[in-house]
Chain length 239, copies 2
C-alpha cells in the first residue's frame, strides 16, 4: 500500500503542494494519471484546475472525479488524490458516489493514494478527529480506514496567553480519547505521513507531529520518525 497523507497543501513560503514535490514524485512512481476528488470544496472545476497546475511539475495528468461517473474516473486512473476543504461535505459525497468502497479496494490493491487535509482525515477509520464544521450530515462518520489510527491535520499548539474560551486543539483530542480508544496523530502544517506497506514514516518540515493516546501523556514525534508500530493499532470507538 502506498499512501501520502499531507497535513495541508500549502506550507508557508511555498506554492500549492510545492513543499511536497519530491515525495509526491516518489509516491506516485510510474503513475501517469491521477483522479482528483474535489468534493470537499464547492467549486469542483476551479479546485481541479488549481491542483492540475500544482501537479504539473510532478509530471502527471490530473482528471477531476466530477468530470464523469466518479467511481469510473477513479477506476480508470493510476492514482487518486483526495483534496482538502470541508470533511463533512467530502464524506457525504464519497458515500453518495460510491467512492468509499472503490477507493478502498483500489488502494488496498496497490493504487497510490494522496490526501491533503480533509483527504488525510478520511484515510483514518473515522472522521471523528476533523477540525471542520458539520455543515452537512453524512450517512456515517466511518471513512476509508487506510490506516488504523486517527489523524488530526492542521494540528496547532496551544497559544500561550490566548484568552479565547473555546477548547484548544489538545483539549479537543483529549475529549476524543474520553469516548474512543484509538491513537491520534496530530500533524502540524507542512508535515505528512508516508506509508509503504508495513512501513510508516513522518516527513515534512521540522515541526513534526504530536501523538495522543488514551491513558498516556501526549508525545512529540520528530520528522523522520519510524511510526510503523502504529499500523498494529486496533481501533476502538464508543468505549
Amino acid at each position: 500500500m502506498r499512501l501520502l497523507l499531507l497535513s495541508n497543501s500549502i506550507a508557508p513560503g511555498y506554492g500549492p503542494l510545492e513543499h511536497a514535490h519530491a515525495v509526491l514524485r516518489d509516491v506516485l512512481g510510474d503513475a501517469r494519471t491521477v483522479a482528483f476528488v474535489p468534493f470537499a470544496l464547492a467549486d469542483h472545476d476551479d479546485y481541479t484546475k488549481t491542483v492540475t497546475d500544482a501537479l504539473r511539475p510532478v509530471g502527471v495528468e490530473v482528471v477531476g472525479a466530477h468530470t464523469g461517473e466518479p467511481a469510473d474516473v477513479v477506476n480508470r486512473a493510476d492514482a487518486v488524490f483526495v483534496g482538502g476543504g470541508n470533511t463533512f461535505r467530502l464524506v457525504t459525497a464519497l458515500y453518495r458516489h460510491g467512492l468509499v468502497e472503490v477507493i478502498r479496494r483500489r488502494v488496498y490493491t496497490g493504487m497510490p493514494y494522496i490526501g491533503s487535509s480533509a483527504g488525510t482525515n478520511v484515510a483514518g477509520p473515522t472522521m471523528r478527529t476533523t477540525n471542520d464544521m458539520p455543515i452537512v450530515q453524512p450517512p456515517s462518520f466511518d471513512t476509508l480506514g487506510l490506516v488504523p489510527f486517527q489523524i488530526n491535520p492542521h494540528y496547532v499548539d496551544t497559544i500561550p496567553g490566548d484568552t479565547h474560551m473555546g477548547e484548544t486543539r489538545e483539549r479537543r483530542l483529549l475529549e476524543f480519547l474520553e469516548e474512543n480508544d484509538t491513537p491520534v496523530v496530530g500533524l502540524r502544517e507542512g508535515t505528512w505521513l508516508r506509508r509503504h506497506d508495513d512501513l510508516l514514516t513522518l516527513g515534512g518540515i521540522e515541526a513534526g507531529a504530536r501523538l495522543f493516546r488514551r491513558d498516556a501523556d501526549p508525545a512529540e514525534l520528530s520528522t523522520g520518525t519510524d511510526l510503523s508500530p502504529l499500523l498494529q493499532t486496533t481501533p476502538r470507538f464508543d468505549v
Copy 2:
C-alpha cells in the same frame, strides 16, 4: 417562550456565569428549581457541582439531569439549563435519553431555557454550526429548534497576520451557507440572545455579534439590537 442563549459561561475577568447574573434572575423569574443537563462533558457530577455553585447567587436549586431518569428530572423542574462542552456528545445524549422531545415540549409551553455554548448551539434547528470536534456520532444533526436560525457560539474574528492554514470562523460559516439557506448569528464571547415570545434581543458585552446570511455581506450587530425579525426565518438545509 423564555430563552437565554449564552455564547459561553465565562467572560474574561468574571467567574462562571457571573457576567450574566442579572439576566439569569430575570429570565428565571419565579423558577425555584433548575434541571441542569451536564451531558456535553464527561464528568457529570463535577460539572453539576460547578453550575450549582455558579447559580447559588441567583437563588435557584440545581438538580443534575443525570441523578435520575433525565426526562423525569427535566419534567419535575421549573427551568432547564443545558451546559456547554462537546455538542456531538451532548446531542447523542439528548437523543439517548429522550430529552429532545421533552425539552422542546416544556419550553414551548413556557419553561425557561438557559443554554451556554453547546447548550446554545442545540437551541437552533440543527447543530451544523458548532465549533466542536465530532468525537461521537449522534443519530441526527437536528436539534431543539427553539429559534429558527443557526447560532455559532464563541464567535471569533479573523486574526490579522495569522499564518495558520486552517479555515477562519468566517470562512467556515460561509461554507455552511454554501450548503444551507439559514441565517447564522455568530455570538462573540460574553454576549447572549434573549427571547421572550416574539421578542429577540442581543445582550452582553459591547463586542456584540455578527450576522451571516446567504447572498449578503456579513453584518455587525450591536449589543441591545432588536433581532425579532430573525424569528420569522424559514430554515432551509441541504439546498
